[in-house]
Amino acid sequence: MSITLRLAWRNIWRQPRRTWLTTGAMVFSNILLVFLISIQLGSYRMMIDNTLAPLTGHLQVQYEGYKDDQQIRQVVPAIRGFAADIRRGLGLTSVAARGAAFALVSSEDRTYGVQVIGVEPEFEPLVSTLPGLVKEGRYLDDAAAPEVVIGTVLAGNLKVQLGDELTLLGSGRDGSFAAAIVSIVGIFDSGMVALDRSFAEMPLEFFQDTFAMEGAGHNVVINAPDLFAVTTVQQQAQALLPEAQDLIVYHWDDLLPGLQQAIQADLASAWFMYGVLVILVAFSVLNTQLMSVLERTREFGIVMSLGLTPGRLGWLVILETTMLGLLGLGLGIFLGGLVTAWFAVNGFTYPGLDEMAVQFNLPDRIFPDLNAISLLVGPVIVFVASLVAAVYPAARLHWLQPVQAMRVA
C-alpha cells in the first residue's frame, strides 16, 4: 500500500463522526435510489406486461395502416395458413390469427356497439390472458361454432347471462350486411372496464363466415418469450413476410404509443427528483471535504514547504473522497439491495395504491425489479457526483502559499 493511500485512509478517520455522517448521507440516498429505481423499473415492466397481455400482445402483423384506419377491407389474406407459417418460421407457438370488426350486439331489449374479434381458440390462450380471465362458463373451444365470450360489464349492460343468445349486426368485408345469432358461452372479467365493456370474442372461422372475410383476417399476434426479445422476434418475423402484400410487423410501441409516452413522462419527473437527491449528497460531501482541507491548512503549508507538490496533495484529497465514496457505494448497494430484495419477494404496497394502480393496469402490489441496472445506476451516480464535489477543495491547494498557510492559527 503506497504511502498516499495509507495517509488518505488515516486522514478520513481523523474525524470518525464526520466521516460516518457524510457516509451515512450517501448510504441513505443510495438505499433510496436502489429501492426507487427498482420499484420504478418493476412497475414499468408490469405496466407493459399487463397492458399488452389481455389483447395487444408484443407484435402484430397487419396490413400496412390497419392500426390507424381499422378498415375491415385492410386484411391479411388466408390468415390461418399464414399464422401457421409464422409459427413454424419462428419456432414459437405463441402466434395467433385474429379478425376484427365493429358490430351492433343486441340482446332482448338492449343494443350496444362493440368490437367483435375472431380468434383461433387453439392458439389464443398462448398470446392473450383473456381466455384465462373467463369467470363464468368457458372459453371458446370450437373453431367454427356460433359462440361468443363477452366481458362482465357488457353482459351487465345487455342484461344477459350465460347461455343467452345475442344478435350481431354489422358490415362484411364486401360491404354486405353481416348478421349472426350467437350464444354466450363465457363471460370474462379482466378488471379493465374498457375491455369488459366493449369486446366480444368469437371463433375465427365463424367470424370469417359472418363478415364475408373469405379466409382473411386482420392481424396475427406474436408474443416473444420476454420483453427483451421482442425486437429480435420482430426482425425474424419481418423476414418471414411474403413480398408484395403490404404487410408489416408492428411493435407494441407502434400499436400503443401512449404506453411508452406515459412511461417516459414518469421517468422524466422521477429523474428530476433523483437529481435533487444526488446534488444534496454532493453538497454534503463538498462541505465535509472543504472543512477537512481548511482545518489542515497549517499542516498542508508545512508539508508543502518541505517540498510536497500541490498536485500530490490534491491527489490525496481526491483519494480521501474516493474512499469515502466507495464506502458509501459499497454499503449503499449492500443495504439497498437487501431492502429491495425483501420487497422483491414480498411485494410493496401502501394504502391507496390499489386505487391508483387500477388506472395503470397494475396489481395492488408492486414487485421491484432488482437487477444490475437498478442496483448500480443510482449509487454510481452518487459516487461520481461526490468525486466532482471534491474537485474544488482539491483544486484550492494549488493556490496555497506555504508561508501564509503555516501562519494560520
Binding site: R73, L104, T111, T167, L168, L169, S171, D174, G175, A180
Partner: protein, 254 residues
C-alpha cells in the same frame, strides 16, 4: 352632450330599423328550408333508388325501395344485390330499427350509434332519421341570394340551438328558388367543413322537379363518396298505417 345624444339616437334608430328586418330574414330563411323539406318528402312518398358506395379500390351498388309519411316516418328496404335483399330500416320520430332477414331479427339502433354509418354508406343514421329536425332545432340566417342558371339560389346558414342534440357547429344550405337543395354542407364545432351533400342531377320525378342524383362526400377523403340516384318517385299517395310498424318491418306485406 348633444352630440352624444344624437349618436345614441342614431344607434337606437338603426336598431329599430334593423331588428324587424333581421327577424323577417330569419323567418324567410326558415320558410325556405321548410319548403325545401316539404318539397322533397311531400306528405307521403314512395320511391325506388340506387345507392352507390364508392371507395378508391372498391365500389358497391344497392337498389332500394323507400316509403315516407309526414316528416318523421320512413321505411327503406334493400332489393338488390340478392344476398342483401330484405335488409331494411324503419324510422319513427328519431328512432331507428334495423331488420336483417339473415337472422330474422329486428334491432333498435341505440342513440349512441346514431352517428355511425347507415348501411355502410357515407350517410350517418342521423342523416337518414333527422329529416326535418333542421327546421325547428336550428336558427336560420339568409346569408345571400345569388343568380345561377336563371334561378335564384338562397344561401342559408343554420346554427343548431343550444339544446339541439346535434354534433355539427353549423350547416350551410344552398337552396334553389324551386325548393331544390343544391348543396348541404356540414361544419364541425371548430367551423371546419366535414362533409357535404351535393345535388349532381336535377330532373322530373312523380310530377316534381327533384334532385335525382346526390353525392355525400367527406371533405378529407374526396375519393370516398356515396351517391343516391332516384329512379322513381311518387308523391302524396295513400299509405297504409301498418306500413310504418315493427311487424311490417319484420314481415313485409308490400
Amino acid at each position: 352632450m348633444p352630440i352624444m345624444r344624437r349618436v345614441s339616437l342614431a344607434a337606437l334608430l338603426t336598431l329599430l330599423v334593423l331588428s324587424p328586418a333581421d327577424g323577417s330574414a330569419q323567418e324567410d330563411a326558415r320558410d325556405i328550408i321548410s319548403a325545401a323539406v316539404e318539397h322533397w318528402r311531400g306528405t307521403s312518398s314512395r320511391g325506388v333508388f340506387t345507392m352507390t358506395i364508392h371507395r378508391p379500390d372498391w365500389e358497391r351498388a344497392m337498389s332500394m325501395r323507400s316509403w315516407t309519411r309526414g316528416e318523421k316516418d320512413s321505411l327503406v328496404r334493400v332489393t338488390e344485390p340478392q344476398r342483401d335483399a330484405g335488409n331494411a330500416t324503419l324510422t319513427i320520430d328519431n328512432n331507428m330499427w334495423s331488420f336483417s332477414p339473415k337472422v330474422n331479427r329486428v334491432i333498435k339502433m341505440p342513440s349512441s350509434m346514431m352517428n355511425q354509418s347507415w348501411m355502410g354508406s357515407d350517410f350517418s343514421n342521423n342523416d337518414v332519421t333527422r329529416g326535418d329536425d333542421i327546421i325547428d332545432e336550428y336558427e336560420h340566417t339568409l346569408l345571400e341570394t345569388v343568380q345561377q342558371n336563371g334561378h335564384e339560389v338562397y344561401v342559408i346558414e343554420s346554427i343548431p340551438r343550444e339544446d339541439a342534440a346535434v354534433v355539427w357547429g353549423r350547416e350551410v344550405l344552398r337552396i334553389r328558388d324551386d325548393n331544390i337543395v343544391l348543396e348541404h354542407s356540414f361544419y364541425d364545432q371548430d367551423n371546419t367543413l366535414v362533409k357535404s351533400l351535393l345535388s349532381l342531377e336535377i330532373d322530373e320525378r312523380g310530377g316534381r322537379t327533384v334532385a335525382t342524383r346526390q353525392r355525400m362526400a367527406k371533405t378529407e377523403t374526396q375519393d370516398e363518396w356515396t351517391e343516391i340516384y332516384v329512379e322513381e318517385m311518387e308523391f302524396d299517395i295513400e299509405l297504409r298505417d301498418s306500413l310504418f310498424t315493427l311487424s311490417n318491418l319484420r314481415n313485409p306485406r308490400e
